[in-house]
Symmetry: C2
Subunit: 372 residues, 2 copies
């Protein structure tokens, strides 16, 4: 993996991550394909939309169909028929957020599957093994995603564990896949700083800010960004995990973040909420009953080119499967277009203007979430 | 509307129905788009699959979003963005099968919506009005779909009502849309003959056999085909309503039926049952867990070209939306290919061979059904 910064505009940066499976222009948004599919879309749809990378969940794919099965079938790319880059998370977040009766031990986490209650164990060694079998292009270290709120002592112990596990992951690093380290430290400045220092001193291909989007107030999340970004190496991609709110993205990019993932566009789509250049709209509203216009006249997506708000409302109210597909195509196109314009604004030295323009649009409550 | 028979092979016929929105090669299969969408697919998908006509349900579209709304938005084609022919049923079948507390009167049927219990009235006059507003290319007379079982006296009264209503529909016929008459008569030979005679004497652009696929045993359904087809005009399309079982289709085509509709391929797809050249398969079966092959190596559909049984099984077990889409694309392609080969076999004078070949494949239980 190679990372080149092409342009800077204050702290914002536009660059490109080069992988064996193609380039990823940054700042980049990664659609979330939890089970090996971005919900309601196929890989050809993602390409039409312009997605250059997708994120898949190690935890989910480990449980079903199993990483050994995927390995036998030629790896994740072949399994899902997606030949562009894939990033897999390490499973750390899901082990905490989804599984039952988890027990954190020195070597990893013992937990019960949210699907069938079966008992499993994943630690740094297992996470690396699973991610190797999946054969993603970018893999993540196994961390403890410190919950919010966490007392100082808990957060300290948690970050120490994350550092220990990060060392183990690094020791198992083969160089075939890019490996990103994850910074924890909860809401404490000194712990964030300490975690950043420890993770960076181990040395990774990229660095992520984890332990955000776990229920903390927005100012604390912004705080984590503000504390961590100045400490993160300039020449490596910086990834803010699980954040997808437009205003949050603007804040993060203004501090030099390069990568994002979030289920916001996709989950909202399935709930009938569409992103437009004038804010969010709820397609079920009566005002759209006889509206012949598309959701966003400025949007060139398949949905906006072909269908009216009236039809989209009709499909949504009838719980038609096509509703989820068309809404998802629109929302992801919106995100891809937003990121493309953002990259251009950085290249043109116009990011401040871009920032102000988009900050002035009300997108409602955050809804950052990493779980579909 | 124009109908030309191109080839005959015994009683089987291959022809073309010409409409202002394009031709329909017969024998034709019409995918069912109940609410103005073939479940899980968009209009572009249907075109890729080779569908030349789709069926939409008057009853459903009348209730939601309402025919007046669709009319205001430029008609059904524009509303759903499908520029090829559409056939709308008259609502007769759904009024009986879906609605609550229906009461049959001389002028039509009073019923309660299955959606919200609201009271409505549809008779021949209303059915023609609604279908005119929807602006389908082919519309159906409003009939009483005689239930099974029905006593002789009930069946007689029912067919008399259907004839009266057919006359009213004909009297409202503007010529802008093709109008098909529906033959009833339940399971009684003389009543089927009488209904055929009465409906044919009114004179329509095409003729349908109704009151089948309502729970009757297969031999009685075959009986209705055998009784009616010799009486139906040779120079008009013949439509067997609601039948989609492969063996039933073969029987009907061998008796000169030209048009079919059924939810079999689409509903089965969503339930994980796929049609292949070797019979039906259930994609959830363990045997497919690590199977890198497509559902049907002989199939050229998007699903078979791009995905393995292992991935399709994974998507189905995870209830992924993409599962429904990929399975539906496959099953409808299977039907379109089956009908294309059948037409070719008729043109080549090889229908008997085609018939025997496909009759030898076990497709399991019928599952004919007109309701998604």
């Amino acid at each position: 993996m190679e990372f080149n910064i092409i342009s800077r505009d204050d702290n914002a940066r536009a660059g490109i991550i080069k992988t064996g499976r193609g380039g990823i222009n940054t700042p980049a948004f990664m659609p979330v394909g939890t089970n090996g599919t971005v919900k309601a879309l196929g890989p050809d749809d993602l390409k039409s939309i312009g997605a250059e990378i997708m994120l898949c969940n190690t935890y989910h794919l480990y449980l079903r169909p199993g990483h050994e099965t995927i390995k036998k079938l030629g790896g994740l790319h072949r399994f899902i028929n997606w030949d562009r880059p894939i990033l897999t998370d390490s499973g750390g977040f899901q082990v905490y957020s989804l599984s039952k009766l988890r027990k954190i031990e020195k070597e990893g986490v013992r937990f019960q599957s949210h699907l069938d209650g079966s008992t499993h164990f994943i630690g740094p060694k297992e996470a690396m093994e699973i991610q190797k079998a999946l054969n993603a292009d970018i893999v993540m270290t196994f961390d403890e995603c410190t919950p919010y709120p966490a007392g100082y002592d808990y957060a300290l112990k948690s970050l120490e564990l994350t550092t220990e596990w990060a060392k183990i992951c690094k020791s198992l690093y083969s160089g075939e896949q890019a490996l990103y380290g994850i910074i924890q430290g909860s809401t404490y400045r000194d712990l964030r700083e300490r975690s950043a220092e420890e993770i960076i001193s181990i040395g990774f291909d990229g660095y992520a800010i984890g332990g955000v989007s776990v229920g903390e107030p927005k100012d604390l999340m912004y705080g984590a960004i503000d504390i961590c970004t100045p400490l993160m190496p300039d020449n490596a991609p910086r990834y803010l995990m699980g954040i997808g709110d437009i205003h949050d993205i603007l804040h993060a990019v203004s501090h030099g973040i390069d990568m994002f993932d979030c289920v916001m566009p996709t989950r909202n789509a399935r709930n009938g909420t569409l992103f437009t250049s004038r804010g969010r709209i709820s397609i079920k509203r009566t005002e759209f009953r006889e509206d012949p216009n598309p959701p966003d006249p400025e949007c060139g997506c398949y949905t906006c080119r072909n269908f009216s708000n009236a039809y989209l409302r009709h499909l949504f109210l009838n719980r038609e499967i096509l509703s989820m597909r068309l809404n998802t195509i629109h929302n992801l196109t919106f995100y891809m277009d937003f990121f493309r314009s953002m990259r251009e604004s950085i290249k043109d030295g116009q990011f401040k203007r871009f920032y102000r323009r988009w900050m002035s649009i009300n997108f409602g409550s955050s809804g950052n979430s990493v779980e579909e």
